[in-house]
Symmetry: C2
Subunit: 132 residues, 2 copies
């Protein structure tokens, strides 16, 4: 049971990494594949109000990924938690964006559908202060 | 089954509201009661990096609630989703804080423990733009 939990947790962290790989490569197909396509999915980009439903969430990613500027993510501190067929990961997205950079704290919620983790909620916000 | 789901969803939304009631009343006991007290809980206050574990999360709330200034929340657009014994709510916290105000988008994840929803993840971020 311990091994099973560890393997499931690893698959959750792998799904989280695949999401950021899609973001970094600006791969709209991979980004679409990372998400459930349902009315109930939610996405809060840094500084945005929350988008509800795959139609709006998918459209927002299409716009964000269309930018041609080179983008590099260094993910730090990914920590996952499982509760049945739900799981979530917190991590920091350290983004090298052109000459500058920023750190975004993220909370990503996944559901396991036919054995595959799919994003159903993403919330990112720019870190202005170190909280502890 | 539909009624059971609706009742469970309502209890999730009620737990979310109890969390904000505790915040608004600056009631540290009620705030403590709203959370699971575990190493695996996470909390991202607006602009902060993510705090891990109840020790740090609880301490952050003690500091935030110690402020004596009158605080009023108007919650809008609370939408919940259930997956087994996990559930999450997105909402906007419209905060009247002294003479000013702000809107915070939030994602709150709960686990159902002995029939009671307990917060395990909170992520709030100030809304600067309307995303759609």
């Amino acid at each position: 049971v311990v091994d099973e939990h560890a393997a499931l947790l690893q698959s959750l962290l792998d799904a989280n990494e695949a999401f950021y790989d899609a973001f970094e490569r600006r791969d709209i197909d991979a980004m679409s594949d990372a998400w459930r396509h349902e009315d109930g999915v939610v996405c809060t980009h840094p500084g945005w109000s929350t988008l509800h439903g795959w139609a709006k969430v998918g459209a927002s990613w299409a716009v964000l990924l269309a930018n041609q500027q080179r983008l590099q993510f260094i993910l730090t501190n990914p920590i996952g938690r499982l509760t049945g067929d739900a799981g979530w990961v917190t991590c920091e997205e350290n983004i090298l964006d052109g000459p500058g950079g920023s750190t975004v704290a993220a909370l990503n919620v996944f559901e396991r559908v036919d054995g595959v983790w799919k994003l159903v909620a993403h919330h990112g916000s720019v870190v202005h202060a170190f909280g502890g």
